[in-house]
């Protein structure tokens, strides 16, 4: 069964107008094409859109989303993606690729895919496109050979493992970009626990006070920003990668889902065994509005709340990067 996450017009604008210029900028800065690691669809739309800036691909393809993997499921989606990637090889658009059969959660955590191909991350990845589409707190059920049981694996665990591996492979250019797309909803037990915790610990209390005036998805998506920034910053910094979170994109995806895309630029910092420290203002990031695709004008536009004060975000990703502290400290 082919993934139901087909490309939408909004998504295409995000990829072309927001992501692509950034990738072009990074390719020029690194003076080499990017190594992609992600979850493309069988048609590999993101890869096709970004092909001018990619020359190596690590791809994961599940069989029957969202059901847990099962050998009886058709592997048509994987065959289709393989065929697409082979075409890119034939056209000399890419140098090589790795394709894994299974959910990223199961392949990364088990160290092998559904057809027992071992998972190796030997290349330094410069572009992570983690397009999960469902909620960040929704676990994937992964079969554990040892216990003979399905176990919950959370996306953040997977991201943490990937960043750990990336640290081991650290090599020139020591910088990478991560696009993380998840459902804008932030609910269930994990989410309410998080909100309780940050309210108790008063992490950015002014922001929290402000967003409590909002309801529904407007509030959830802002708590989600808080959660993702807080969690990922820790992962990145503990591996000596200083993160720079660009404005978050909020859009309506296929199937009328509210999606958000985080874009994080990471730069390696050599420390004497200590974690790195983010140079970015958490408060500024939280209080910044969103970007959203405008299908009529075919561009990205700012999207701020009518009910609370928010900083209007810059829409040009290059201007955002080049004005960032990390850029000026490490990239210039």
């Amino acid at each position: 069964m082919v993934s139901k996450f087909n490309s939408s017009a909004n998504k295409e604008i995000v990829r072309r107008v927001w992501n692509a210029p950034l990738l072009e900028f990074l390719t020029t800065r690194f003076d080499k094409k990017l190594a992609y690691f992600g979850l493309p669809s069988p048609r590999a739309e993101d890869i096709h859109d970004w092909i001018d800036w990619i020359d190596f691909i690590v791809a994961f393809q599940c069989r029957d989303y969202p059901k847990p993997s099962d050998p009886s499921q058709s592997d048509e989606a994987i065959r289709q993606l393989e065929s697409n990637l082979n075409t890119l090889l034939r056209k000399k658009k890419i140098n090589d690729y790795q394709l894994y059969d299974g959910y990223i959660e199961e392949v990364v955590m088990r160290g092998k895919d559904n057809v027992l191909q071992e998972f190796h991350l030997e290349n330094f990845i410069t572009l992570f496109n983690l397009d999960f589409c469902n909620e960040i707190t929704v676990p994937q059920y992964v079969y554990n050979d040892g216990t003979d049981k399905f176990e919950k694996v959370y996306k953040l665990h997977v991201i943490k493992k990937i960043i750990d591996l990336q640290r081991i492979n650290n090599s020139h250019p020591e910088r990478f970009v991560t696009f993380l797309t998840v459902n804008a909803n932030f609910w269930k037990k994990e989410a309410s626990n998080y909100l309780t915790q940050i309210l108790r610990e008063q992490i950015e209390p002014d922001f929290l006070k402000k967003i409590m005036r909002l309801k529904g998805v407007d509030r959830k998506v802002r708590v989600l920003k808080h959660y993702v920034y807080n969690s990922l910053s820790t992962f990145f910094c503990s591996n000596n990668y200083i993160p720079e979170f660009l404005p978050v994109v909020f859009y309506r995806g296929s199937g009328d889902q509210n999606l958000v895309q985080f874009c994080i630029i990471c730069t390696y910092e050599a420390t004497m065994g200590n974690s790195s420290i983010s140079r970015q203002s958490f408060s500024h990031f939280l209080n910044q509005g969103f970007l959203t695709p405008d299908t009529e004008q075919n561009q990205m536009i700012p999207m701020i709340s009518d009910h609370i004060d928010e900083i209007i975000p810059e829409i040009n990703p290059i201007d955002i990067i080049t004005s960032a502290n990390v850029y000026n400290e490490f990239w210039n």
Binding site: E82, S83, N86, D96, Q98, L99, Q117
Partner: protein
Amino acid sequence: MGNIKTTRYDVGAEVLSILTRGMYPDPKDTLREYIQNGVDAGAKSVQVRIRRNTITIDDDGIGMDVKTIRKAARIGVSDKNPGKDVGFMGIGIYSSFHLCDTLTIYSRTKENLPCYLCMDFQGMREVLDDQKDKRLNHGLESSELIDLQSLLESNIIVEETTEEDFPAFGTRVEIEGLSSEFLNDFLDFNIMSKYLKEVIPLEFDKFNFKWADIIENKIKEVCSEHDSRFELIKLLLQINNHKEWLYRSYKDSDFRDNTSFEPKFYELKTKNQFLGVIWGCLNSTRNIIKDKSLRGFLIKKQGFAIGDRRMLRQYFRPVYYDRYIGEVIIVNPKLIPNGARNDFAYSNLRTILYNSIGSAANEFNAFAHSIQEYTLGDEQIDDNTIKLKEINNDFSLYSTNANKLVDFLINVREIRSLIQNRLERKSIRIEREKDANKLINSALELEDTIEATINNLTKQSSKVTRKQKEAPTKISRKLSSIKTKPKEIDFNNLFSLLDSLDIQIDETMIAIINIIDERAIQLLSENEKHYIEILKDLRDEFEKLN
């Protein structure tokens, strides 16, 4: 009756399935066929990539234009030269018929637009299966069966394409929709690399095989003297994420002590014709080559394997055959491989070739014999030096045990006569003749001393002379000056001894051998050391049987 008149309906489509199944019983052979086409097109580098659903083979040969690629789809008709090219039967392109859903070949020459040929094998098989079912149910007359021409015409496309679609020069073969029954072998890197290393004209491994350059250059030199080609290719094998450049299998570590004797060469030729050249490296010790699959000689025509290493065993003394690694490189254009690539097609030249291989085998046997006689000589000097040292240590001038003294004397005489005999037969290397003489002199001195001690036993109050007193130290000093190399023993019972000689034994025989070992050989042995000595003697005897 005159000559018959045929139509397209006289050749049924089923012939394609029958031919390909018969000619390519091993699915891996399909890779050899497509790589061979690349080599015939002058490729220097070939890249094979195997994924779960697709195999691609890229070469940097001259490529094909649309006219040539159209011709490639013909069956049993080839523009290739049977002498010059390895593939010439005009069937190899269909070798993946039973393996995959589609075969697409992209190709581009320097002068023309790229083109491609696409064969829908799944479509063809469905048509054939369908008519087979109908025939079984009597729903189809033989006159209604599809002919070969119609089957091909409706399932093969040839077209020009764009540079964007195929920018490289050369040819790319895409085998898509691999049948799952063959996947296990295709996705196993060890199986595939081993196969390709044997059958493809790969370069020698210059990093791991010290004779690589010498062998490669010598073959090139001999071939060029006879205006013949000897070309090798670079081959990259990638299976999923694992990729490696492959070289011929041979490594120093295939030989005992990580070395072999210098390669020996033999030109295969008659008065008027050059057939090829044989190279062979003999193991450095009297042991078989560790890796069973590399023991002996493999015939290669233009670098592609013909048959396997069992083929030439009959021409050699088995004991020596298993101690060699070598190849028979055939370059004569008139020697043409048969369809199954397991021998040459019958011809007078084939008979001449095998006669010539027989003569070469005699030389390789003789070389092994002389060299290994020397090796045996080395081993005997080493072993007997140690033995003599032990006797010298155990012997006492004041011994009163006459039996023991007589045993000593017998053993020392045995040692002396063995080494003397070898020296007289000139079966000791010149470099070790000095050691042999030292050993003989030491044995003589010890013999004299033991004899004197025995004589003293028969006399009353006899005195030990100064010369006798000094003898053991002198002998010990002399023996210590012989540099001995302790021999590696890779057996510790009768069964492991037979196993080390690669003698095939079934389960029942193993049980019988173990009983003989326990009830006879071990009972004969005074201690473990003696037991191993007996086994060593047995090994020498067994080896002589070969």
